[in-house]
Amino acid sequence: MSQSSTATPPSRLSRFWHKWRFHINALLLLIPLGFMPKYFADVSLFRGDSGLGEREIGDVQVGPWSLRLAELRNEAPHLSGPAGYMKDFNAALCDACVEQVKATYLRIGKPRSLRAAGVIFFGTPYRMGSQLPVPEKTKADAELWITMEGWDGSMHQASIPLSQASPATIAWLNKQGAKP
């Protein structure tokens, strides 16, 4: 921290360094500045101001009911600690089925029974979300199954190709070469 007072005059670069070395950390402010657009985009995404999700999949008819499905993020599944890879989907129920549908589930592959219908959606019928586990060994031609259960005990199912539900997930599966 002592200024050197040697006989030879210090170079311009070292003078500059000595003058500014303790102010360089102000550049750390560039980090939040850089992340700010992403921050506000996320806020708007989670409030639903920018739609149901980053990528709308469209309406899916499930028996007498239908729901609008969207990928929360148009991205590959994300690693969620030891739980493995997860893919977030959002959904909104059709106006007529808001009162009738008790629960909605998602699963890769056809469920054998209602008890194994997959992950349940949380939220309101206007906007609900679920985290679908995507095993790394999922085949690229897999199907996403939607199960809806009515308050009267009825159950309806439908499926769409995973490639339609999430092209980003298919790209991710292909890239790492679907593990056997």
């Binding site: 303790f22 992340f35 994300h78 009162e99 009738q100």
Partner: protein
Amino acid sequence: MSKKSRSKLWFLVHSWLALPIWFFVLIVCVTGTLAVVSQEIVWLANPQMRASQPADDAPLLSFEQVLAAIKKAEPQTLVESISRPDESHFALDVSVSYPDGRSQTVYVNPYTGVIQGSAPDFNFQAFTRALHGWWLVPFTNGYSWGWYLVSFLGLPMLASLVTGLVVYKRFWKGFLRPTLRIRHGARIFWGDFHRLSGIWSIWFIAVISITGTWFLIQAFLFDNQVSISTEPIIPAMARESVPISADASPPPRISLDRAVEIAEQKIPGLEVSFISMPGNAYSHMSVGGRGWYPLMFQTATLNPFNGDMAASRLISDRSSLEFVTESMRPLHTGDFGGLWIKLIWFFFGLLLSMMVLSGLLIWTKRTALATANALKRESKKARSAPAQPAFARETSEANL
């Protein structure tokens, strides 16, 4: 090592702890200070957030009455949770979901149930917290690296406190004879200011740096899948315990007032301040509030169809370790005892921000002085005998 050179070393350590990152530390301190009173700032800026009482004797509405008022005003809007802020001048925060898929917080008058407006698009509270807490770096898998960056500052801050007290000899005398010399130039003033605010902030700096360090440990534990929680995971309701309705419409749920009644009956001393609706047909509703220990919340998890209590989380359920760790966040934010505690935290937050600035000013002025002295000696040396080493003056504590 001699006593003198040891204290010189401590002094060097003290100056070097914050100096190279002073601007970062300053912004973290300032945003943290703002975050403490962010709710109040939003309250000042937005009249919709204020809970004005229509008449002096107007009673507060119950949770069920509030829900009914919202349902009447906007039949399509679905309520996800209702929360009564600690201070009575705040309107209720109600999270709602609209048919168009938007979810928002709206401010509801606690006396009339009128929806006074929705939270502004720019959420100042959340933004200052995000900037202060994780430098806006997004969370992807586990904690964001911005969180680590900020919470790491707890360590140099704690070290600054300790080394500061070591180099400030007999600092307790400062309590008895406070000195703040105003007329002796900027160097003396900032030196006095730094020491005076330092000794009066010992408790605050200790609280902030220890709790800040806890946030670092917390992230580290979480990201390494180490859990110290004794809280049981509550399973979803069994298929059989959710009624089926013959007419295909949702079966009736217990009223919110009934839920409050059940919770307050089962948990003595509970003052319910928030209710979260079930997230789906198989999940519970949760009712909670503060108890005798203001730093923690107690909650009851209820079956919304029959009111059975599936689980409860009381202050006495916490292990002694959790008692300490769960107190860390409220201690850090000052959000546990109403406006006055927040204002105390705000004041000392400002003082702490000023300590960073005054520390920097002292250093700059001292260096400027030392440089001037060195130059003077240089020119003297050219004429006469060799002088003392240049750094002898600038690192001595007497010079602070």
